[in-house]
């Protein structure tokens, strides 16, 4: 599973980071950045992060 993030859409809510902190973080501007891969077992949290994002800035790309 791969993730893609869209900084232009991001409003910095931080829900992705709260939900899957190994994968998502906030950069110095407060916008989303990918911190690491989705590890086995982490798929549900990554999907939840996509679902919770209020601005549609997080996308799961199934591999």
């Amino acid at each position: 599973m791969k993730v893609s993030v869209d900084r232009d859409r991001c409003v910095g809510a931080g829900m992705c980071m709260l939900t899957a902190e190994h994968v998502f973080g906030q950069d110095d501007d407060g916008l989303v950045e990918v911190r690491g891969p989705v590890e086995p077992g982490g798929e549900a949290a990554a999907r939840e992060a996509e679902w919770l994002c209020p601005s549609g800035a997080v996308h799961i790309v199934e591999t």
Binding site: V11, G12, A13, M15, L18, Q26, W51, L52, P54
Partner: protein
């Protein structure tokens, strides 16, 4: 049988759903009408006190859809934008949260670094100091003590002062102004005077921050003035927005949540014993209380199909987050307060691009507040029956006006 247009209108008005609705029965529950609306009329027509028609969106999925639809505007200046109080579109001009992109995006991005998850976590120690200091002062008061006045109101304003960079010595002045803003007995003239006073004070602070930059939001804002064509008035309005957004909401959550916890002693005992986390409790309190129910008015800028209805271009609507938070389609057994529920699917902080900027500060603030309050006063109890408390039924943000307690 109606035989005149006036009689027809009057007849129709009798059947229109009047909005806002009020809580009745348990103060923790949203208006009872929401349940039927979700089931039978998930997108329902209602009418405001001034006669303006509005749509009420009550289901969790529909609330999320509406708040992310590109044809739904949050701009206060849109002609169809519902304003429950009527007329007054804010004496202070349009606050940035009530604008659309690109204005909204510009300000949000400027403020955002002060409100990140990391920044909120870094503030935990400072918030703990504020809470401890407030508890110290409270402990010296003769009982019964009003928890709203002594605890719930001052803490959020002190935290915001910290974020903005208001000097500690000015806190009493700043808090006094904030109180006037929230007081329902304040006249429109009182409010205008207070807004002008705070604005003037902010402009003085901007001067000080230019002379002596600090690691705070007001300094960041004056530094942004150099890059962009911004006046002091623009900055002051935004600083005011931050204060407005984070004060009454958080204060009301502190007071009401205390009631919920006192009303759920088994849950409270688990939390105090460390068998459940305050983070989980806060998330469920946010869902359960749904105090920001009325905070998401919007206008359609094109026809938007939702929930089996069509919201026409120019129509106003409310995305009722308090209703969404009790939608059984999203939360099994939704009217039960259950801190083991898990997840963060509630929309207490709203949804879409306007989702609360301060939410991560609020989360940590609330965790620290309750952990500290119940650790300091293990025998905290209400001094009057819960049913006798004065609830804010006529306020945009639900809460309680006074909360006499003993310990």
């Amino acid at each position: 049988m109606a035989d005149s247009p006036a009689a027809s209108a009057a007849e129709k008005a009798k059947h229109d759903l009047n909005f806002p609705l009020t809580r009745s029965g348990c103060p923790f529950d949203p208006p009872p009408e929401y349940q039927d609306l979700r089931v039978q009329r998930p997108v329902a027509r209602a009418v405001l006190p001034d006669g303006q028609p509005v749509w009420l969106v009550t289901r969790h999925a529909d609330v999320r859809a509406v708040l992310t639809d590109p044809n739904i505007s949050g701009d206060l200046r849109q002609p169809g934008m519902p304003v429950p109080g009527g007329g007054n579109r804010s004496p202070a001009g349009v606050p940035y949260p009530r604008t659309d992109p690109p204005d909204h995006s510009f300000w949000r991005r400027m403020l955002l670094p002060a409100f990140t998850v990391r920044r909120a976590r870094e503030m935990r120690g400072r918030i703990q100091e504020i809470v401890d200091g407030t508890l110290d002062a409270m402990e010296r008061l003769p009982q019964p003590v009003d928890l709203v006045e002594a605890f719930a109101l001052p803490i959020p304003s002190l935290v915001i002062c910290d974020i903005l960079g208001v000097p500690y010595v000015d806190h009493p002045f700043f808090q006094a102004q904030a109180r006037v803003m929230m007081d329902r007995n304040s006249t429109p003239e009182d409010l205008q005077n207070t807004v002008a006073t705070v604005r003037g004070y902010m402009c003085e602070l901007f001067e000080r921050k230019r002379a002596q930059p600090a690691d705070d939001l007001l300094t960041k804002m004056v530094q942004a003035q150099e890059e962009h064509d911004l006046g002091d008035e623009d900055l002051a309005k935004v600083a005011q927005s931050v204060l407005n957004a984070g004060h009454e909401t958080t204060a009301n959550m502190i007071a009401l949540s205390t009631l919920v916890l006192l009303d759920n002693p088994t849950t409270l005992a688990q939390l105090r014993a460390g068998r459940a986390t305050w983070a989980d409790a806060v998330e469920e309190l946010l869902r359960y209380l749904g105090i920001g129910d009325l905070v998401s008015p919007r206008t359609a800028t094109a026809d938007v199909p939702v929930g089996g209805a069509v919201i026409r271009a120019g129509d106003g609507l409310f995305a009722l987050t308090g209703s969404a938070n009790r939608d059984p389609a999203a939360f099994p057994d939704p009217d039960t307060f259950d801190i083991d529920r898990g997840g963060r699917r509630h929309v207490a902080f709203g949804y879409g691009i306007h989702q609360c900027l301060g939410q991560n500060i609020a989360r940590i603030e609330l965790e620290v507040v309750f952990e500290s309050l119940f650790r300091r006063f293990p025998d905290l109890r209400l001094d009057v029956p819960m049913d006798d408390l004065p609830y804010k039924n006529d306020s945009a943000i639900f809460g309680v006006r006074a909360l006499p307690v003993r310990w």
